[in-house]
Amino acid sequence: MKHSFRYPLAWRLLDWAEAAAAAIWPRRWASLTGYLLLMPAMLLVFVLVIGLIYIGENSLHELDIYTYRLKEAFSLINYRAATSATYQTIIGRSLGASAIVTAITMVLAFPYAYVMVRAASAWTRKLLLIALFLPFFIGQVVRAYGWLIVLGKQGLLNSILTDLGLPAIKLIYNYPAVILGLVQYMLPFAVLLLAPAITAIGEEAELASESLGANWIQTFRHVVIPMARPGLIGASVVVFTLTLTDFAMPEILGGGTTDFIANAIYDGFFQISNPGLGAALSMILVTIGSILVTIIFYLAGTGTLGFSGRRP
């Protein structure tokens, strides 16, 4: 008796899928597949660039306050306004905060990431990972509001102070409160970017260092930190740029007098209906961010964000 042979269903389905794929994208185009997969992302970037061109164009027209439309004539008046002393202060405040938040976040994130990666106990690792991810489920606005509840005049901290007979102190609606909120917001981003870099450092390198006589601090300074440099650079760039462009924390925790550039842009577009000024401030923000990141990449490589950056 002769049995007819049939391939398993899963195999046949795969064959059909392969034939369909070959019909849509012939094998001779295989070398272009990578570019095809890149297309959606490129399209998104393209749309962003188009938007940026429009914003750039808008920034070169003055607002006509009798029609609330931008005048036809080209003008640099928005750039003159956007580089006035007021906006210089706001830009300086944003850059200062970005530097401070990046420095504090890195100092806090590195040990966290190191312990999370190196902890011997799986439970410890999981606990640290959960503690890290939990804030991601809570949006930035809610977290900022949480700080209002904790640090407010009648908040948790001041309640403890007044219960102890001490006067309540003003802990929110100022620059330090904004920095605090931003550090808490940025910490998970930094840890997540540092963790892969630390994982990539073999424990044997640390053991070798110690076996050659280095103490823990020396090993950390001369082995761990240099080898984690790609992660430190990547995390710093992300934290710095996210802080530089942040809106919610200064808006909610700043009390209205510690605006960042993003708040000034919002005011330009919405509060005073001057898209020209908003656009000029946006262009300045993009330019400053791009120049700073380019300098960092040039001096220190692209870190974990790049594939062929300088090796430490």
């Binding site: 609330y68 003003k170 007098t257 005011d267 919405f270 898209p275």
Partner: protein, 368 residues
Amino acid sequence: MTEKFSLEQPVNRRHFITRSAALMGGMMIAPRMAFASAPKKPKELIVRAWGGAWGDALKAGVADGFTKQTGIDVRLDFTEDNEIKPKIWAAVDQGRVPPIHVNWDTTTNATISALRGVTVDLSDLSNLRQLLPLAKPVGLEGYPLVNTYAYVYVCAYRPQAFPDGPPQSWTVMLDPKFKGRIALYDDGIGFNPVAVIAGGGTFADIPDNMEPGYAFYRKLKANNPLLGEDADFTNWFQNGEIDIACTISVNARAAKQNGIDVAWTVPKEGCKVDTDGLWVPKGLPENETYWAKQFVNHALTRDAQQKWCSLLGLPPVYPGIAPPPDLVNDVSYPTQAADFDKLLRVPSKALVENQPKWFAKFNEIFQG
């Protein structure tokens, strides 16, 4: 014999049921018959509103009555007034349908939109005729918007912080003991003319000489004021963050109604009085424009004005409506010419043309 319906005539049970049913049916149908020849009704109208006490008042005072009368649901959209403005402008410019049907807006912002040419003319609304002159937008042709009530940016304060009585002058804000416990709107709205007078200027200086106001702001900056929006003021009073603020009386009254110890006054320099209004954006389908206008028309009826404005605690543009009991003879509820004498009303034209300049200076002082 002709049977006449009379309340004096004895009515048997059968007649009573028949007539009651006819009367009820008539009452239900009558308002709908008024719109019998009207264009197709949309499923809902979207009306932009402010949240909190403001939105509640619009719903109870206007939207619910409109829905009852027309069967059209009204959805309130709480997008910030400054944020909806560019969205509507972009939609009209690009030939898209705007995101809302009716915009409840400040008169200044509404005037800006009218100058931009994105508002529908409301001159044919039947209820306009009965309103006070305040309803008519100044310096604009026709009715690209209609003002619906007046409001006052009062001096709201915590009585505990002022044991000697209400603040007599806005200059009390400069007292170091209130450092960090003062609040203004984050764009200076409502306070700019007051600042001019508190800074030694006069009302006649506005808008050409605002320097006394800027000088006052520079002094005030040393006292670290908080700058925020409507909702912030209620929260700040509630959380004990501030002692004194320049805010719309509605926010202070809402805080008081929520059990917060807040009072308000008009200091000797006066308070700014302004108006809000309703307008319909261009670019809606024809039938939706019609019903959006009917919504505005409904908001101008005596019933709607009375209920809406009483809930807000603001004087309506419909004449002869008594203030709510808690606001009789209240400084925040001007009804007589003498009441308005204590208030500062800057013409819309001056506000529209100067607001960006004032904001830039305000920003320069407080952010610089």
